[in-house]
Chain length 238, copies 2
């Protein structure tokens, strides 16, 4: 297959940078069968350890299930608030955050991991046992970016009990829920992450998460000097 | 931010579908500082639980480290072969597979997870403890796709001992290696995954990994009938 051009790269990065974790401003418009199929096909084309494709996508529109899942969220959210009780300011901020769009979004998707698929011998998973779960996460990121390209918002709700999910969605014991996602068209995509807007946390400068040759590696050696200078000239936290 | 057009979506999907897990045919061309910075910036713009950005990227070009890591691979690969000894045909196939490009690729990147970053209270991670690791995997997939857009191949080597990685890269005890990636320009990108070409495994039909409303949900109910028909009319395993 051919090379991508400068213009094609630019479009790709625009999708990467404008993807948001969306929890509000969902609108009523339905996701069509054609669009949903494209998004799921993108997820299914993620890399997977030993080509094991260990994911499932449970599509949920049923109101009753969503109400039950929302109840699980509310219960877990209260538990989290208790963990913050010594810090009054953070607690207040946390209480103001909108953290899920379970009922307002057009579609919920539970993404699960099946350890047994094509097993027990899966190339690469004999050494790194968790590698199958990593594959599922790659599929989730494909799904998320495809949704953004389709102008659809996605929010990952992690304040949910996996035991509740297993009960509500009738998952067999061997199936592990990895993500609970809310998808829908939105009024608009925000220009920065919500948690940055409300000053919960800021994006780190890229140089804080780059290491040279080893954990405490020196960026002043000849090999990496040029890269490090280029990095410092570029604003990478925007 | 504005909506993406049909042409822009098409380019995005072309990148998704032409991304490969690359272990051979690396060429000598160096990845420039500008290109490397763009790829890492894309990774750093992945979603993360509670905006915790718990990743680090260790950039490795040093020959000595790579030789040590290759040695770890060779050792672990032998262990895996032993697990296959009852199945002579699969064993022969496995022995023929090229599973890493540690020495031939231009650059190796070890992606790690830092549980302590912005902790202990990370929104969403109080309920799902592993959510921070999931975030790192999303960053890896962003990196992988960005590399493909830049016409650079990436191979994820999971036949490596994490203990060896920690020793060779001098990782502190709290830092967990998640992925060991080999990056470089390639002669060409294959049109299908290597493990499919050699008939190790095939891509599943998409309908095998889609569930309706719950694990054993019925796709014949009114809500999902149209989607299911559309799915069956479309070839999704290509």
């Amino acid at each position: 297959m051919g090379d991508f051009t400068e213009i094609e790269k630019e479009i790709f990065y625009k999708i990467i940078f404008s993807r948001r974790d969306v929890r509000r401003n969902f609108i009523k418009k339905k996701i069509s069968n054609e669009v949903l199929l494209r998004i799921l096909t993108a997820a299914h084309h993620a890399p997977s350890v030993g080509y094991s494709q260990p994911w499932n996508f449970i599509l949920i529109r049923d109101k009753k299930s969503r109400l039950d899942i929302k109840e699980s969220f509310s219960k877990e959210r209260l538990k989290s608030i208790e963990l913050l009780e010594i810090d009054e300011e953070r607690k207040r901020k946390y209480l103001d955050l909108k953290l899920e769009g379970i009922l307002e979004s057009n579609l919920n998707i539970c993404v699960t991991y099946d350890h047994k698929r094509f097993g027990p011998f899966v190339i690469g998973r004999m050494t790194i046992k968790e590698a199958g779960i990593y594959s599922v996460c790659c599929a989730i990121q494909n799904l998320w970016l495809a949704a953004r390209a389709e102008n659809i918002g996605v929010g990952w709700v992690s304040i949910i009990s996996n035991n509740d999910l297993k009960r509500i969605l009738k998952l067999p014991p061997t199936i592990k829920p990895i993500a609970y996602l809310c998808l829908g068209y939105v009024k608009n995509f925000e220009i920065e992450p919500d948690l940055q807007t409300v000053n919960w946390l800021s994006r780190l400068n890229l140089d804080k998460v780059i290491n040279y040759e080893q954990w405490n590696g020196n960026n002043r050696n000849t090999q990496w000097k040029g890269f490090n200078q280029h990095l410092n000239r570029t604003n990478t936290s925007a």
